[in-house]
Symmetry: C2
Subunit: 201 residues, 2 copies
C-alpha cells in the first residue's frame, strides 16, 4: 500500500513536470543579423547559395517555427513585406497546409507588400475596411503555437528595429488569440464589404 | 509512515497547484469602448465626474495593472500620447514608484506626445539615436508582471485599432524582457549620445 502510494505520488509529479516541460516558451529580439535563409526555404541540403552567413538568428528562428506547421497557419499582421516570410507561406501552402492571412487594407497596397503575391499563389487573404488599423502582429501554428509581439513582417522591422516576438503554447494565451482570429476572419469576410453601399449613401 | 507519505504528496501537489495558480495570465484586446478613468486616476471615491460611462474596459484594465506598481515601472514604448496613461505614470512617480521610460526619438517630439510632460514631472526618459525604430510596446511592473503586445500607448490605438496586450508573470517571459529593458536603458544613456560628434565628422 505504501509503495503504491509512493508510486502514485511519483507518477503525478512526473506527469506535472512533463506537462510543464512540454509547453514551449521563447522570446526573440530584433534587430537580428541577416543570415542565409535559403537552406530553410529551398529545402536544399547543399551549401547555402546566398552570400549571407549561415546559422540561426531571429528571422531564421521565426521561419523555423512557421515552417513547422503541419495543418494550419493563421497569420494576422499589420504590414507584410518580408520576401522570406512570404516564401515560407507559399511553401506551406504548396505542402497543403491551410494558410490564412488577415491584414490592414491601408498597408497591403504599399510598394513591396507581399499580399498581392500571396493571393496570386492562391493563399486566402482578408482585410479590414475601416479607418482604424488592423494592427495585430501574430500568427498561430496548428492552432497550438502562438507567435506574437511588436514585429511587423517587414525587412525594416527584422533588420533595423528594436522588436520582440513571444512564442508560447500556453492555452490561456493561444485560445484568446485563436478566437480573435476567427472573429476578425468572419468580420472581414468579403460578403460583408460595404465599400460601395457607403459610397452611395 | 504511510500517513506522512500521503501528507507529503498532498503538500507537494498543493504547492505545485498554488504555484501554477498564482501566475497571472491575461489577454486584452482593443479597440475598447471609452470608459471613465477618473475614479482610478484621481483616487476619488465619489461619482465619476466625466461624462463617459463607468465600468471596466481595455484601457481601465491596463491602468489598473500599471497602478498596481509598488516599487518600479519600466516602460518601453514606441509611441506614447495617451493622456490617461501619462497621468498614471505621473501618479506612480508621485507615490515614490521608480518610473523609467524608453521611447523612440522620432516619435517623442510629435504633437500630443506625453514624453515632454513626463520629463517635466521628473520622470526619467531615454530614447534611441538611430534610424531604426525603438518599436517595442511593453512594460514591466515591479520586475515581475510583463505587459506586452501590439498596442502603442496612444488614444488612436486604444479606441480605433485592432490590438492585443498579453499580461504574464511567467519568468521565462518576464526575465528576457527585463534584460532587454536594462540593455537598452544602458545603451540609451545620454552619456553615449553621439549626435554632435556625428555632425562634426
Amino acid at each position: 500500500m505504501r509503495a503504491a502510494l509512493a508510486a502514485a505520488a511519483l507518477l503525478l509529479l512526473l506527469l506535472l513536470m512533463r506537462r510543464r516541460r512540454r509547453r514551449r516558451r521563447e522570446v526573440l529580439f530584433f534587430p537580428a543579423a541577416p543570415r542565409c535563409p535559403e537552406a530553410l526555404l529551398s529545402g536544399s541540403a547543399g551549401p547555402c547559395p546566398c552570400p549571407l552567413p549561415p546559422g540561426d538568428s531571429g528571422l531564421l528562428r521565426l521561419l523555423r517555427l512557421l515552417l513547422g506547421a503541419r495543418r494550419s497557419l493563421d497569420v494576422c499582421v499589420f504590414a507584410f513585406s518580408s520576401p522570406e516570410l512570404g516564401r515560407a507561406l507559399q511553401l506551406l501552402h504548396r505542402q497543403g497546409v491551410r494558410v490564412r492571412v488577415l491584414t490592414d487594407s491601408q498597408y497591403m497596397g504599399l510598394p513591396g507588400s507581399q499580399v498581392g503575391l500571396l493571393r496570386r499563389h492562391g493563399i486566402q487573404v482578408r482585410h479590414d475596411q475601416d479607418s482604424g488599423f488592423m494592427h495585430h502582429k501574430f500568427a498561430v501554428v496548428d492552432k497550438q503555437l502562438l507567435i506574437t509581439g511588436s514585429l511587423n513582417w517587414t525587412t525594416q522591422a527584422i533588420q533595423n528595429n528594436r522588436e520582440n516576438v513571444l512564442v508560447t503554447e500556453d492555452t490561456e494565451f493561444v485560445k484568446p488569440f485563436l478566437d480573435e482570429f476567427e472573429r476578425i476572419w468572419e468580420e472581414f469576410n468579403p460578403i460583408n464589404y460595404s465599400f460601395f453601399s457607403k459610397d452611395n449613401k
